[in-house]
């Protein structure tokens, strides 16, 4: 008996002992006193010529001083950049953007999958659990694709920008190994989470499964914030002196002024992006089948994806606002380069893209109202929401400055048109954006109310309060924008935009609170999943395309504000591509990466469906005859 127990337990201490031996050996070189390269190769001894006096040894003190001398950022000349015949920047651009697209996707999906799984657990509705599992299934290949593009990007950077990469390696040091190590954790939790889905489905095992999901997200988010610190270091370096020599520890290097704003912005944007991408999958599956049951399932999946995408999208402008405010606080020059300098024109494109997202999201919600008969109560409002959206969209895309010839300027009576001039500046756009967000939330709120009838006694008062909040908020946004935007100086103009944002947030938060309380124990009207026009599904394709293009565009801005610097103010970019390219060139690059991303997505979805397909065994002719 004892013998059998010993046999069972024996491997564990043996394993621990072997691991301890191995790890302690691996860490030996990192012990104090043997960190110096010269010490590690010392056993070779000193070489001297026979018959000659010993060569004078280099002063050990001088060598030690040399070792601690902080390394300034290199200043490579143009000839130090390898030339492989095509633009190095273009290669890195494509690989970095594809890596980011897939990285964003595979970080976001497990996040909302975990939330959906929790919803399934608390509601007891297994459809949530199945949908969450399906979301994971379709994004599984994405992890490998992310790694492939990440590896390719790293190799391309080392090949094409060796001095820059040497400097970054020097600055971030062992943090990079931590980053690499986290992939082991993420991979472990990914596979156990996905493949253990049905093995840990009920009871306490479900909590084990949820914990695996939590750890998967923790690893993924840590990976993201570590990688973000490289990008923000390049924009606003910290922990280094003015020549780029490291003077702080790794934490001081990482926690630059833009790190947390970027972390938050990417975190929220990833969720919106991930929701939009899986929504397109659901839309495609919906359109591809005539089976009412499957159409109902994919309609519901598409709705949930759109819900995730738009809900995450609504606070995104505020995170973006914080990021820009921090950029201005760090360097007004950098802020104006982005918003008022050479890059300012692409914010017109940003407006078009965000307008597309909001119009598509709203259209999908309006079309989705046909799922329930209760929506008839609210449909009359749709045309007014559409009108506000279109008008505010047009204001948002109005340029302030027009490229005019001399004769056009004289015809116009000045460089600015009497209408376009005032509508082209930020106060008008701030009003437009906030109103667009408010009416989008209204669409969302009406949709959510469509299948419910409130039973609480204070429902009329609740509705009146909600209407009052909308009216006051809209009036406040317009007043603040007009009065402080046009009749006071710039300082008040910027300050008033914060109050506008607060007004919008008040509508969203109070709307959620009032509806949650008012529709508690509400009478639920029947919903007919699958009863939605096919054309509504195209809104679910417009969303990820616009999101992808928008991410590409904003990546171009984020990188370009560094102008001719690899690392702003400490390491100059002397490569042939050290200029900000014109917008059409950037547009072509963004379109290229969007199309490549689309093709990779098709592959990802195809592989996900391949696992469900089983070839029918061919019947051999004549068998059994």
């Amino acid at each position: 008996m004892m013998h059998g127990k010993f046999i069972k337990l024996f491997p564990l201490p043996l394993l621990l002992m072997l691991l301890f031996l191995g790890i302690s050996t691996a860490l030996q070189a990192a012990e104090p006193g043997v960190s110096n390269v010269a010490d590690r190769i010392a056993p070779v001894g000193r070489i001297q010529l026979a018959g000659e006096p010993p060569l004078e040894a280099e002063s050990e003190v001088a060598a030690a001083e040399e070792a601690v001398e902080p390394m300034a950022a290199p200043r490579p000349m143009r000839s130090n950049y390898p030339d492989i015949g095509v633009s190095s920047r273009a290669i890195v651009w494509v690989l970095a953007q594809l890596h980011l697209f897939f990285g964003a996707l595979v970080l976001a999906v497990p996040l909302f999958v975990l939330i959906i799984e929790l919803v399934g657990l608390f509601t007891g509705d297994e459809r949530y659990d199945d949908m969450a599992h399906e979301f994971m299934k379709i994004s599984l290949t994405g992890f490998s694709i992310t790694a492939i593009f990440g590896g390719s990007l790293t190799l391309a950077l080392f090949l094409l920008y060796p001095d820059f990469m040497a400097y970054m390696m020097h600055v971030f040091g062992a943090q990079l190994l931590v980053y690499a190590g986290l992939f082991f954790f993420e991979t472990f939790f990914l596979y156990t989470y996905y493949y253990g889905w049905n093995a840990f489905r009920y009871g306490n095992k479900k909590w084990v499964h949820l914990s695996l999901g939590l750890m998967l997200n923790a690893s993924g988010l840590t990976i993201m914030v570590l990688a973000n610190s490289w990008a923000t270091f390049m924009m606003a370096p910290s922990g280094v002196n003015e020549v780029g020599a490291v003077v702080g520890n790794i934490w001081e290097v990482m926690k630059g002024p833009l790190w947390n704003p970027i972390n938050l912005h990417r975190f929220i944007a990833n969720i919106a992006f991930g929701g939009a991408v899986v929504g397109a999958y659901a839309a495609f599956k919906f359109l591809s089948t005539n089976d009412p049951e499957k159409r109902a399932h994919y309609d519901w999946m598409g709705y949930t994806s759109n819900f995730i995408a738009i809900l995450a999208f609504l606070p995104l402008p505020f995170a973006g606002y914080w990021l820009m405010a921090e950029i201005y606080a760090y360097s007004q020059q950098m802020g104006i380069t982005a918003m008022g300098g050479i890059l300012a024109w692409l914010f017109i494109l940003q407006a078009v893209l965000i307008g597309t997202i909001l119009l598509a999201g709203n259209f999908y919600l309006w079309a989705g109202m046909s799922r329930t008969d209760g929506s008839e109560r609210y449909k009359w409002l749709v045309k007014f929401i559409a009108l506000v959206l279109v008008v505010t969209f047009l204001i948002w895309i109005t340029p302030h400055t027009l490229m005019l010839s001399a004769s056009e300027i004289s015809l116009l009576g000045g460089t600015h048109h009497s209408i376009l001039g005032p509508l082209g500046i930020m106060p008008a756009k701030n009003i437009a954006v906030n109103l667009m967000l408010i009416v989008t939330f209204l669409s969302f709120q009406l949709y959510r109310r469509s299948d419910k009838v409130a039973t609480v006694s204070w429902a009329p008062a609740g509705n009146a309060l909600m209407v009052a909040i909308y009216v006051v908020a809209i009036a406040n946004i317009i007043f603040l924008g007009v009065y402080y935007g046009y009749f006071t100086n710039t300082v008040y103009k910027v300050g008033s935009s914060v109050a506008q944002v607060v007004s919008t947030l008040v509508v969203i938060i109070s709307g959620i609170i009032i509806d949650t309380l008012m529709f508690k124990n509400a009478k639920i009207l029947p919903s007919h999943w699958g009863r939605i026009p096919d054309r509504a599904q195209y809104a679910l394709f417009a969303l990820p395309i616009a999101f992808t293009w928008l991410m590409g565009l904003m990546g171009y801005v984020r990188s370009s504000v560094k102008t001719h610097w690899h690392v702003y103010t400490v390491m100059k970019d002397n490569s042939p591509d050290n200029f900000i390219p014109a917008i059409a060139y950037a547009g072509n690059m963004i379109t290229l990466v969007t199309v490549l991303f689309l093709l990779c997505l098709l592959f990802m979805f195809w592989v996900a469906n391949l696992s469900e397909t089983r070839q029918v065994k061919p019947v051999t002719a004549g068998k059994g005859a």
Binding site: A72, A73, E242, V243, F284, G341, N489, V491, Y538, N578
Partner: protein, 276 residues
């Protein structure tokens, strides 16, 4: 398959629309600043003023903030007479600088913008005690003293005022030539020898090493006899602490922040050995 083509066609079509929109916008490239060679032999004051205007609008990136209202995020100095305003500001009790005239005020405002912050243009929450303006001789702008003089000359000349800034001297030109900048930049990695270090910091522009001849500063052929190593170190780090009689305070006082410890030590050791 039909659905695949329809949805793919829709997605690609939308991508194409976004792409085409970029062609409707003005196509502007943001070129990196390039070095401009100034021929001192033929430089006139008009050329110098024109150079100042170009620097103001391009390399200096001044026009990013200094725009006419309501667009500007800094005073509209293109539209204001800076010479007339300087007199008012120097007399203002909030002024904390040491300038005595308009040229000095303009130069000081570029090098230390906090000395006088124009009312309402200070950093948010600083009660106009802190300016959001970057110091222009530091990265990312990195104007040389000659370039700042050129901008000062333009700001004086544009409103018909007398230009009181002198044309650049040969020494200033040498300083510009020695400064690592742009494509022609030598590496700023720490120098390996005393000779490299002295070349990097342009010591030889002002000091003769092989004689006691005076260039701008005293000759250093026997400096090791006159000064101890510590005194030499002090002369480099704080050149104004002990002045050699008859020499102006022309030596830069910022070597302490620019030199690495090794570079300073190499130069001190080298000079301490120079005993005639």
């Amino acid at each position: 398959m039909k659905i695949l083509f329809k949805t793919l066609g829709f997605s690609l079509g939308l991508t194409l629309v976004f792409s085409l929109l970029t062609y409707l916008l003005p196509q502007m490239k943001g070129e990196a600043p390039v070095d401009v060679k100034v021929d001192l032999g033929s430089l006139t004051m008009d050329d110098f003023v024109a150079l100042g205007e170009d620097l103001f609008k391009n390399k200096g990136t001044c026009t990013l903030c200094h725009k006419p209202p309501p667009l500007g995020r800094a005073p509209d100095i293109q539209g204001e007479d800076m010479v007339a305003l300087s007199a008012e500001r120097l007399a203002d009790e909030r002024y904390q600088g040491e300038a005595k005239d308009a040229a000095g005020y303009i130069l000081e405002s570029m090098l230390d913008p906090n000395k006088y912050v124009v009312a309402t243009w200070g950093k948010k929450g600083s009660n106009d005690s802190e300016s959001p303006m970057p110091v222009v001789d530091k990265a990312p702008i990195e104007l040389s003293s000659m370039e700042m003089d050129a901008i000062t000359a333009w700001l004086q000349a544009k409103d018909g005022n007398e230009v009181t800034v002198a044309l650049p001297t040969a020494e200033e030109a040498a300083e510009v030539a020695a400064a690592p900048a742009g494509e022609s930049a030598a590496t700023s990695a720490p120098a390996a020898t005393a000779d490299e270090a002295m070349a990097k910091y342009a010591c030889l522009t002002c000091h003769a090493m092989d004689s006691n001849d005076t260039l701008v500063g005293p000759g250093l052929v026997d400096v090791g006899e006159r000064l101890t190593a510590d005194e030499i170190r002090q002369s480099i780090l704080d050149p104004n602490a002990v002045m050699v009689e008859g020499f102006p305070p022309a030596m830069p006082a910022d070597f302490g922040t620019k030199m690495t410890v090794n570079e300073l030590q190499m130069i001190v050791d080298f000079l301490a050995e120079k005993k005639g």
